[in-house]
Amino acid sequence: MSTDATGDYDERVTEEITVTVNGEEVTAEVEPRLKLSDFLRNECGLNGVRVGCEHGVCGACTVEQDGRTVKSCLSYAVQADGAEIETVEGLTDEAESEDGSLHPIQEAFHETHALQCGFCTSGFVMATKELLEENPDPTREEIEEGLADNICRCTGYQNIYEAVERAAEEMRE
């Protein structure tokens, strides 16, 4: 938003973008300053994208963009024009359409009690997905490295290790 010299205000400038979100194409008019995280939450209704810091530290807003995880609070929606985005909601839809159950990573988090308040959980699930796609059988050190960009304030991480190991085992089978 800017004012000109006389104090009148410009119309809010918008741009049209087209993004494939969880397999569906979404076209929207957005302000250039709209964060990708806010676009996904407010325009696409995907509240599973959580916002914990808006400065790239906590990882709650982690989504997959063109096959790589990104912190969606650190980029703008216009930068995702033409991209494919997957959020935690997409993960379940995939699994549910097959057999009505949770994705193995979600299931493992549930079974091992790897979530308490759950505010970090979407981010951890997405980070785990990338980790296991790259490394189907990670060691504890590799898990640590893979999840180092996500903060959980509740669980002390112990059960998150277990969840990742259990999911890895499940997904290898």
Binding site: Y9, G52, E89, F109, D149, T155, G156, Q158, I160
Partner: protein, 838 residues
């Protein structure tokens, strides 16, 4: 009372294990998880009603300044601006927010302390809200906020608790002093103890300003209803049935006209969110003005710098009187707690340590003195441990120091002074009572674990020597630490009562704040239960469905658990102070009994027999001596035919009284000013630390812990609580701090500066449990929510002391967090000294 064997609780079993098909005591996976994992859980940030407007705050960038003028005209000219509010608007229509210490005695009478939701003539901390703006969305609201022109006249600030005591800069001019509260309590014969003891050891310890910092920030959606002149306030405040007065009082409305509702899912709180009422008030005022819903989401910068959410910030001076044989004779505690600009609700944070005054040690003569000072920092709120964590830390530090000075092995010194099982229940000098447990056995067990590590493990002498060659020092120092559980009653109010008034007080005048639970049997035979508290990740819905299923003899899946808002729920305490395992389980047992009795009355009525001729069991009422039986579904159908007011199976409720109320032993503490926490969970930690003497960095190689919280209702949840608490303890001990410049500018306003422990910082935790049931509680459970945060910082600190013992460093962990630069200085000092000696 017998202590059971250590139990392995790693297995998560969905099926009940015992023949009686009990779900209680098993790690039943949580009912909360699915909605969270699929992204469908609705946290407060996700609540955006139609037609909703968005609020942003203009905040002070000065730590201390006079507000000369506020020009809102440019903001109001902005096309997206809906409303601007300043203190003048607030003061014209509303009242101030309640403060923890409303009146301060001064040299010339009594001065009142007032806190307004927007700063008026002066600002007292960086981030203090000065104006509200409301616009169509948050982006626009921030644009508008930038256009509010506030002219300040900066003053000198005071940002250090010890300095604030000098009163050179006054945070509240009218009050005339920054020391707004203080008291000295003495138990036993302190002077004699210190005079007669062979040694008096003293030390100074500092606990840096830290807090819970949940991943979800504060949020509120307020909606004013013109027709009924009332408010609906959705928010993530903690203890909404207790602290709702912090919202309706400033608004000037009755409790019934301000409906405070907390979503089922809150993204963590750990005590901190009890202090978010300012936002609730402001959003409510804006909503009333605009007659539209108004939403506010605090952002992280606001949260860290001026979110009213920091916690304990203390300087301690400790003295311990000890005899040559290692007997602890007396303890004298003095500390200053820097509360920031306003003394809010957590003023009891300075007194809660009385509930574990001497930790696990028998010390009969104790002094306890505190000063509560105000500075130009954001105000304090509660945080897991509620002030006990710094006390335990300072106490374990002076114990370490005393062991060193008198030349006893620090573990042996501790062991000699431990309260023994035959002394339990044990009444502390400060009148709280430890219920049950075997502290020496717990110390023995953790010592065994350490002995194993000394034999070919992390602490093997050869390994330790090798690491030393590289400048890396390993060590560990355990102690047994108590977690006081289950606050209740009204000591919050009593704390502010004059002593002579308290003398007069009888036991009947104590307000006990029971735990309320309610249930309705639905026509399909399932049970809808309602909690009168809020949750923020503790799994209360799971716990209640698990326990209620057992008590009613049905399946957890037959029970659904929901939440009551502040109007529908009675005023009660709620989730804090390690209460819920005990209070909810007690309430569940009582509620199930009530439901069973109600079902029996419906059945007896239906068959036209006496209630003596029927019996509730496993989801049905049977007719004794006959073969008739009515299931809960059938009974609900029968009940539904009655008049609404006669229905037995709708809104069945039960209030579980605070467990200490039934035990006269607690009466003395109850009627006086002392905190009553009738369960004493306990544990011993062995964090094996490695200190790099060249960088000052501390690596925790492994964290062993042996814990006992009485009967474990859901071991999976219990362990999760311990893991989380320990991780927060690691953060407190090594990483986290809200530092301030001398001029009151906060140094930690992003998560790049306030360092939350990541998966790389939290060591592997290996946990064992014993189960010594509490004799005072319905299910034998003890409070369990805060333990790790209470015991881990002290254990890490003493272990760092132990690691650097070989180089003769002087109490290296004498300040929390133990930052690398501080340790480096300690190492250098020790090196200089040894050079001088040489």
């Amino acid at each position: 009372m017998s202590s059971s064997q250590p139990s392995e609780t790693d297995d998560v079993d969905v099926e009940p294990e015992t023949e009686t098909e009990s779900f209680t005591g098993t790690g039943l996976p949580r009912v909360e998880d699915r909605r969270i994992l699929t992204g469908k859980a609705e946290y407060i940030h996700d609540v955006t009603p139609e037609n909703c407007l968005h609020m942003a705050l203009v905040r002070s960038m000065h730590a201390h300044a006079d507000v000369v003028s506020i020009d809102t005209s440019a903001a109001e000219d902005h096309p997206d601006c809906e409303l601007v509010l300043t203190a003048a608007d607030v003061k014209a229509e509303y009242g101030p927010m309640p403060v923890g210490i409303p009146e301060v005695e001064t040299d010339d009478g009594v001065a009142t302390l007032e806190e307004w939701s927007l700063a008026d003539e002066k600002v007292r901390f960086v981030g203090e809200p000065v104006a509200v703006v409301v616009a169509s969305d948050r982006y626009a609201a921030e644009d508008v906020a930038d256009l509010v022109d506030v002219e300040y006249d900066p003053r000198d600030a005071v940002a250090d608790g010890m300095e604030a005591r000098e009163d050179e800069v006054l945070v509240h001019d009218d009050v005339g002093t920054n020391v707004v509260d203080g008291e000295r309590l003495e138990f036993g014969d302190l002077d004699d103890a210190f005079e007669e003891a062979d040694h008096v050891v003293s030390g100074e310890y500092s606990w840096g300003r830290i807090s819970g910092v949940p991943l979800e920030t504060a949020g509120v959606v307020a909606q004013y209803d013109d027709e009924t002149d009332s408010f609906d306030i959705d928010c993530n405040i903690q203890l909404h049935t207790l602290v709702d007065e912090m919202i309706h009082e400033p608004l000037g409305y009755d409790a019934d006209d301000v409906r405070v509702n907390v979503p089922a899912d809150v993204g963590g709180s750990y005590g901190t969110k009890i202090g978010i009422h300012r936002y609730c008030c402001l959003a409510a005022m804006a909503s009333k003005e605009l007659e539209r819903p108004v939403k506010f989401n605090e952002d992280r910068l606001e949260n860290l710098q001026g979110g009213d959410m920091h916690s304990s910030d203390r300087e301690y001076e400790m003295r311990l009187a000890v005899d040559d044989d290692g007997t602890m004779r007396g303890l004298d505690v003095w500390f200053v707690d820097d509360f920031g600009a306003f003394p809010r609700y957590p003023v009891n944070q300075v007194l809660k340590p009385l509930s574990v005054l001497t930790n696990s040690y028998e010390i009969d003569h104790v002094g306890y003195e505190y000063e509560l000072v105000l500075t130009n920092k954001t105000s304090q709120t509660a945080y897991r441990g509620f002030g006990v964590d710094p006390h335990i830390y300072a106490l374990e530090m002076i114990v370490d120091e005393a062991a060193r000075e008198i030349g006893i092995d620090p573990t042996e010194f501790r062991r000699r002074n431990l309260i023994t099982p035959d002394q339990l229940p044990y009444t502390l000098p400060s009148k709280n009572i430890y219920d049950s447990g075997d502290y020496p056995a717990t110390l023995d067990r953790i010592e065994e674990i350490i002995a194993d590590e000394r034999d070919g493990g992390l602490l093997d002498p050869e390994v330790v020597a090798e690491r030393r060659e590289e400048g890396k020092y390993r060590g560990v120092q355990p102690s047994v630490i108590i977690e006081p559980g289950v606050s209740g009653s009204d000591w919050t109010d009593r704390q502010r009562t004059e002593n002579d008034e308290l003398e007069e007080r009888s036991r009947d005048e104590v307000d006990e704040l029971p735990e309320h639970l309610r249930a309705t049997v639905r026509e399909d035979g399932t049970v809808q239960a309602y909690l009168a508290t809020d949750s923020s990740g503790q799994g209360h819905q799971t716990l209640v469905s698990q326990l209620l299923a057992d008590e009613l003899g049905v399946l957890p899946s037959d029970i659904e658990v929901d939440y009551l808002d502040s109007v529908d729920a009675p005023t009660e305490y709620g989730s804090a102070a390690s209460r819920m395992a005990v209070m909810l389980s007690g309430a569940t047992v009582g509620l199930a009994e009530r439901v069973g009795e109600a079902a029996e009355r419906v059945a007896a009525d239906h068959w036209d027999v006496s209630t003596d001729d029927v019996a509730y069991q496993d989801g049905a009422v049977d007719r004794i001596g006959g073969d008739e039986s009515l299931s809960l579904a059938e009974l609900a159908a029968v009940d539904a035919e009655r008049d609404v007011e006669d229905r037995e199976l709708t809104g069945v409720s039960y209030n579980y009284d605070h467990p200490a109320t039934e035990h006269e032993e607690f009466d003395e503490a109850f009627t006086r000013k002392f905190p009553v926490y009738p369960t004493a969970a306990f544990g011993a930690n062995a964090p094996i630390v490695e200190v790099d003497s060249r960088t000052g960095e501390v690596d925790i190689l492994k964290f062993y812990t042996v814990r006992d919280c009485g009967t474990m209702l859901n071991p999976m949840i219990v362990e999760g609580q311990a893991h989380g608490g320990i991780a927060q303890g690691v953060g407190a001990a090594l990483l986290e701090e809200f530092g301030y410049e001398d001029d009151g500018q906060p140094q930690a306003i992003t998560l790049f500066d306030y360092l939350l422990p990541s998966i790389e910082n939290v060591p592997e935790i290996e946990m064992e449990h014993t189960e010594t049931p509490s004799p005072y509680t319905e299910t034998g459970a003890k409070g369990v929510g805060e333990g790790g945060m209470i015991d881990a910082p002290a254990s890490i600190a003493t272990s760092i002391n132990a690691a650097l013992e070989p180089i003769g460093a002087d109490e290296p962990a004498d300040r929390i967090p133990v930052a690398p630069d501080h340790l480096l200085e300690k190492v250098r000092e020790a090196e200089d000294e040894s050079e001088d000696d040489a």
